[in-house]
């Protein structure tokens, strides 16, 4: 199994390299794949297996643990939805969906749906459909626990800020909140936290859910400011036009909220940082 996979990589790469070398990068052919077709999420769930896109590097939302499993609020939501669709926990295949690739992976059918701190925006809605929202997050700031100099966006000018390259939070800072802040951009949040811990940066900015996970993980080291810089409605992304699937997911989210499971999970993952979990948002999509 493993060996044949390696062979397959070898064959494709060799073929491509030769083709590229032969035509010096001429026009490659072949159409884009469209597997999965227009089949609804509900009928795919009936096969008993689902592939779900999550984040695997965000404590509290979606994190790959040393046991090889995944944990966090997004993972809980994904499991609950799958259960409502009739898929056992063991039959869910979790796949990492990097922020920049989420729409593409849904369009290509790489994943059945995505629960990965995925904000509902008009731009994204042109490519994919959203169910939910299942959570209302806000852009916020994470600072060292003993640092009281930053209370909100107005204190940011002249401060050293860190965020992840290409994220909306980074763009918001540059364009709106603090044009004079010194912004460092890294590939991941972990690099920012190293700088924050060592005093090389003053604040890390992104969604408060992600920050709450880090604060909870490092008690006494970091704290949330509660600056409430924007509203981020987290939705469940799925293939465009799958109305049946969207209704099914919406029903599952509603049931999770009404049953108290939603509150229990949110408080378990975000509560330890002092984060106040509010009421669940109304489903609008």
């Amino acid at each position: 199994m493993r060996f044949s996979r390696v062979l397959r990589v070898g064959a494709v790469v060799a073929a491509t390299s030769l083709a590229l070398a032969a035509c010096g990068g001429g026009n490659g052919g072949g159409g884009g794949g469209d597997e999965g077709g227009n089949e609804s999420l509900v009928s795919r769930a009936e096969s008993g297996r689902l592939t779900v896109g999550i984040k695997i590097d965000q404590p509290g939302l979606g994190l790959q643990t040393p046991d090889g499993g995944y944990e966090g609020f997004d993972v809980d939501v994904a499991k609950y939805i799958a259960k409502e669709l009739g898929v056992e926990e063991g039959d869910i295949e979790f796949v990492e969906t990097p922020s920049a690739q989420r729409e593409n992976m849904i369009e290509k059918g790489d994943v059945d749906f995505i629960v990965a701190s995925y904000s509902i925006t008009d731009e994204r809605k042109q490519k994919v459909d959203f169910a939910g929202p299942y959570f209302l997050a806000h852009q916020d700031l994470l600072v060292r626990a003993d640092d009281n100099s930053i209370q909100g966006a107005e204190d940011l000018n002249g401060k050293k800020l860190c965020s992840v390259r290409g994220s909306t939070s980074a763009q918001n800072v540059k364009e709106d909140f603090a044009k004079d802040a010194d912004l460092q951009e890294y590939a991941g949040y972990s690099e920012c936290l190293t700088g924050l811990e060592n005093g090389a940066v003053d604040a890390l900015t992104t969604d408060d859910t992600i920050l709450a996970g880090y604060a909870a993980q490092n008690p006494g080291k970091f704290k949330l400011v509660g600056a409430n810089l924007s509203d981020e409605n987290y939705g469940v992304g799925l293939k465009k036009g799958d109305t049946e699937g969207r209704t099914a997911i919406n029903n599952a989210i509603k049931k999770m909220q009404d049953s108290g499971e939603w509150k229990k999970s949110a408080e378990k993952w975000f509560g330890p940082s002092g984060y106040q979990v509010g009421e669940p948002p109304a489903i609008e999509q």
Binding site: R5, V13, G32, P66
Partner: protein
């Protein structure tokens, strides 16, 4: 000039005292730098036991994160060298062809892919596979990394092969011709077998370059190789990124040191062999190979 000692006289009592002085001064400077680094790290809490102990106490950090990372690095590097070798050999031989219409196009291809940075090749390969193939998203980075490495290292190896064949004494070709062998026969039966042994050290040291370059795939494409494992580890073990970076660096150095040692052992073995022509393409001996080594 083989022995560097030819650059200075055997030290007399005065020079000896001066050398001791230099040694002490250098030692003090080195110790000061190391002390400053460690003191600053300790002050920032980077030397805390909790940041380093998981590597000893928690075996899962190895089984879940580091070892699969090493495995991915080795798979990508192994595949790259295996695919790049035949391609390199082919283009190396084509460049030695008697026909201009074969020599020139192959030379252009080789020179082109040697001039383009591996990172750019990887970016392109990733988008190419994304747009024109059905490769699943979790496999795509591996394909893209291997493609980038094959294109670049294939062209470097083509130069190694060419140098290897050119390093053989002319008498080999002449003798083969005198025996009535055709050009293809001369190449496959006489020149290549001898050239391969001459090239082995250079090929093995090219593996070091490939292993190092897999790290590009982690940074640029999210390929789960060893270096990219610093993030999940850091997220699970209290943000110990600096500690993880040090451990990962040590693993890379040990891994590559083993390969480098193999290369120099092969070189020695080649030189000592009685058989063959004694031609050796040492790592870095060819200008072109030095290019590869520096990447």
């Amino acid at each position: 000039m083989s022995a560097p000692s030819v650059l200075y006289d055997a030290p007399g009592p005065k020079a000896k005292a001066r050398n001791v002085g230099y040694t002490i001064a250098f030692l003090v400077a080195l110790a000061a730098v190391i002390w400053w680094v460690l003191a600053t790290m300790a002050e920032k809490g980077q030397l805390d036991g909790e940041k380093w102990s998981p590597f000893v106490t928690d075996g899962r950090i190895w089984t879940t994160f580091i070892l699969p990372g090493v495995q991915n690095t080795l798979i990508a590097a192994g595949l790259s060298i295996l695919i790049a070798l035949p391609i390199g050999a082919l283009f190396g031989i084509l460049r030695l062809s008697d026909h201009v219409w074969v020599r020139w196009p192959s030379a252009t291809v080789v020179e082109f892919f040697r001039a383009v940075p591996v990172l750019i090749l990887m970016f392109f390969a990733n988008e190419f596979y994304f747009n024109f193939t059905d490769i699943a998203s979790d496999q795509r980075p591996l394909y893209a990394v291997v493609t980038g490495l094959v294109l670049y290292n294939g062209s470097v190896l083509a130069e190694v092969v060419r140098a290897g064949i050119l390093s053989l004494p002319k008498g080999q070709t002449e003798a083969a011709q005198a025996l009535g062998l055709r050009k293809t026969q001369t190449m496959t039966n006489v020149l290549l077998p001898q050239a391969v042994t001459a090239m082995l050290p250079a090929i093995v040291s090219q593996i070091v370059v490939i292993v190092k370059d897999t790290a590009l795939g982690g940074a640029a494409l999210g390929f789960a190789e060893l270096l990219s494992r610093i993030r999940p580890i850091s997220n699970n073990y209290g943000q110990n990124m600096i500690a993880t970076l040090v451990i990962v660096a040590v693993i890379f150095i040990v891994l590559n040191f083993i390969i480098t040692s193999a290369a120099s052992w092969l070189e020695k073995w080649n030189r000592q062999r009685k058989k063959g022509t004694g031609a050796v393409v040492a790592p870095g001996a060819v200008d072109d190979v030095a290019t590869g080594q520096a990447v």
